[in-house]
C-alpha cells in the first residue's frame, strides 16, 4: 500500500529518480578510479588487473545487475515524470523569458540525459559488450602475475588512439554527463529533503566540483591518448 501510493505521487517518483541518480553517481566515481589507471600505466597491466578484478570479483558481479536496475529506474521514472510534466502544460507560451536559478542544465536535464543514453549505448557496445559477451580480436589473452586475463587495455587504448571520431563522441558524451551532474547532484539531495538555506549554496558548489571531477577525469583519458600516441 505504502509503496504503490508513494510511487504514484509526484514526490515519490522524484525520490526514485534521485536515489537511483545518487547510486549512479557513486558508480561513476568507481568507474573513473578504474579508468584513470589507463593513463597512469602505459604498459596496461594496472588497467588489465583492474578490469579483470571487475569482471571476476563476486561482489562486483552482484553489483552489476543492481547497476543495470539503477539505470532502468532512473530512465523509466524520468520518462514518466517528463511525460506528466508535458501534460501539465498543454498550451505553450508564445514568448518565454524566465530565468531559472538552476541555470541552463536544470531546464535541459531530459535532453542531456537522452544524449547520455545515446552515448551509453555506444559505450556499452564498444567496451562492456565486447569484453563480457562477444569478444574481440584485440582482446588477446595475456599473463599478469601468473594469472591469465584478457588484454582489455589493448581494446580501449587502440580505440582511443586510432579513432578521433570515437574520442570526440566520448568527449561530447562526457560533457553532457558533466552538465547533467552539475544539476543532478544537488537536486538529488534537495528532492530527498536534505537541503536548506545554509546547505543550498554548499550543495550547489559541491555539485559543480563533483561534475568537474567526473567530466575532467573522463575527458583526460581520450585527450591523453590523442596527445601522447
Amino acid at each position: 500500500m505504502f509503496m504503490s501510493s508513494f510511487m504514484k505521487s509526484s514526490i515519490g517518483r522524484k525520490v526514485l529518480v534521485s536515489l537511483s541518480g545518487l547510486f549512479l553517481m557513486v558508480f561513476l566515481l568507481v568507474h573513473l578510479a578504474v579508468n584513470l589507471t589507463l593513463i597512469f600505466d602505459d604498459t596496461g597491466d594496472l588497467f588489465n588487473q583492474a578490469a579483470h578484478f571487475m569482471a571476476t570479483n563476486p561482489a562486483i558481479k552482484i553489483m552489476e545487475p543492481a547497476l543495470a536496475l539503477g539505470f532502468v529506474i532512473h530512465i523509466l521514472y524520468t520518462i514518466i515524470v517528463t511525460v506528466s510534466n508535458y501534460m501539465a502544460r498543454p498550451a505553450r507560451y508564445d514568448k518565454r523569458n524566465s530565468k531559472e536559478t538552476g541555470g541552463w542544465p536544470s531546464r535541459n536535464m531530459f535532453f542531456l540525459g537522452s544524449t547520455i543514453l545515446v552515448f551509453l549505448v555506444i559505450h556499452v557496445w564498444n567496451f562492456f559488450w565486447k569484453m563480457r559477451v562477444s569478444g574481440d580480436p584485440l582482446l588477446d589473452h595475456i599473463m599478469i602475475d601468473g594469472e591469465q586475463m584478457e588484454n582489455s587495455y589493448n581494446l580501449v587504448a587502440t580505440l582511443f588512439k586510432t579513432s578521433y571520431i570515437y574520442s570526440s563522441i566520448y568527449i561530447l558524451g562526457v560533457i553532457s554527463l558533466g552538465l547533467h551532474l552539475s544539476h543532478g547532484f544537488w537536486s538529488a539531495f534537495h528532492t530527498i529533503g536534505l537541503n536548506n538555506d545554509v546547505w543550498m549554496p554548499r550543495l550547489r558548489n559541491i555539485a559543480v566540483v563533483y561534475a568537474a571531477i567526473i567530466a575532467g577525469g573522463f575527458i583526460a583519458i581520450p585527450v591523453y591518448f590523442m596527445i601522447f600516441f
Binding site: S10, A88, D94, I192, N195
Partner: protein, 253 residues
C-alpha cells in the same frame, strides 16, 4: 521631474471568448502612456479605448492593486508579473518598457489553471489544495495568549517568510513543468515550523501533495524558475522542507 511619455506601444494580447473557444492574439496600439502609469492602469486605458470603439474590453484579473491579494495573474513579455523582480503585475510600472515596444500579454498556461476568458484563468485549484490541509484545526473558545507558546526566532522568521506567499500562481506559470511545489511548500513549511501547525504536519503534507497531484500540476525538477519569479521571494528551500515532511510522513505509514 515629470515622467517620460511613451508615445506609442503595441500591446499583443491573448483574446479568448470562453473556456471552450479557441483563442488568438490581437495587437492594439496605445498612445501617450506616462512611464509613471502602472501596468494595469495602462490596461484600463486600453480597455477604455476599446469600449469607446465599441469593442469588447480585455478581461483580466485584478483586485487589491497593491501586491497583496495575488489575483493579477498576467504573463507579460515571457514572465509572470512581467519584467521586474519581486513585484506583482499590479506593482509593475510602464517605466520598465520602451517607446515603440510590442508588449506580449498571455494568460498563465497550465492544465490546472484553465482559461475562463481572455487573460483570466481559473485558479481555484490552489483553494482546493488549501482546503486539503493548509489550515490548523482548533476548537473555538477564548483567545489564547499569543506568547504562551514559545517559538524560536529562526522558526518564526522562516515561518513568516513562507507565510508571505500570496497564492498568485506565478510559480506555476513560470515553471516549465507547471508545478505547484513552491506554493504547496510555502504553506506546508509555514505551518510545520510552528507548534500549532506541527500537530497536523504529517497529514497536511500528505493530503496537500495528493491534491496537488490529482489536480494535474507537474512534477518539480528543481529548476528554480519559481523562486526567480515569485513576487514574494519565496525560496525553494521550502521545497526541500516539503519533501522532507512528505517523506517522513509516508515512511511512518
Amino acid at each position: 521631474m515629470a515622467d517620460k511619455i511613451l508615445k506609442q506601444i503595441k500591446v499583443k494580447v491573448w483574446r479568448q471568448k470562453g473556456p471552450k473557444t479557441k483563442g488568438k492574439f490581437e495587437t492594439y496600439i496605445v498612445n501617450d502612456i506616462s512611464t509613471g502609469t502602472s501596468f494595469l492602469e495602462m490596461m484600463d486605458i486600453l480597455n477604455d479605448n476599446l469600449i469607446r470603439e465599441g469593442k469588447e474590453p480585455i478581461a483580466f484579473d485584478h483586485d487589491c492593486r497593491e501586491g497583496i491579494c495575488g489575483v493579477c495573474s498576467l504573463y507579460v513579455n515571457g514572465r509572470p508579473h512581467g519584467p521586474d523582480d519581486d513585484v506583482t503585475t499590479c506593482q509593475l510600472h510602464m517605466r520598465k518598457f520602451k517607446d515603440g515596444e510590442t508588449i506580449t500579454i498571455e494568460p498563465y498556461r497550465s492544465k490546472a489553471f484553465p482559461i475562463i476568458k481572455d487573460l483570466i484563468v481559473e485558479r481555484n485549484a490552489f483553494d482546493r489544495i488549501l482546503q486539503a490541509g493548509g489550515y490548523i484545526s482548533i476548537n473555538t473558545g477564548g483567545v489564547p495568549d499569543g506568547n504562551a507558546i514559545p517559538v524560536s526566532y529562526d522558526d518564526a522568521e522562516a515561518a513568516m517568510d513562507a507565510a508571505s506567499c500570496i497564492g498568485c500562481g506565478a510559480c506555476v506559470a513560470a515553471c516549465k513543468n507547471a508545478s505547484a511545489m513552491l506554493f504547496v511548500s510555502a504553506k506546508v513549511s509555514h505551518l510545520a515550523r510552528l507548534p500549532q501547525g506541527k500537530v497536523e504536519a504529517a497529514r497536511r503534507a500528505k493530503s496537500m501533495v495528493a491534491k496537488m497531484d490529482e489536480l494535474g500540476f507537474g512534477n518539480c525538477t528543481n529548476t528554480g524558475a519559481c523562486e526567480a519569479e515569485c513576487p514574494k521571494g519565496i525560496s525553494i528551500s521550502n521545497i526541500a522542507k516539503l519533501n522532507r515532511e512528505y517523506l517522513c510522513a509516508k515512511i511512518k505509514d
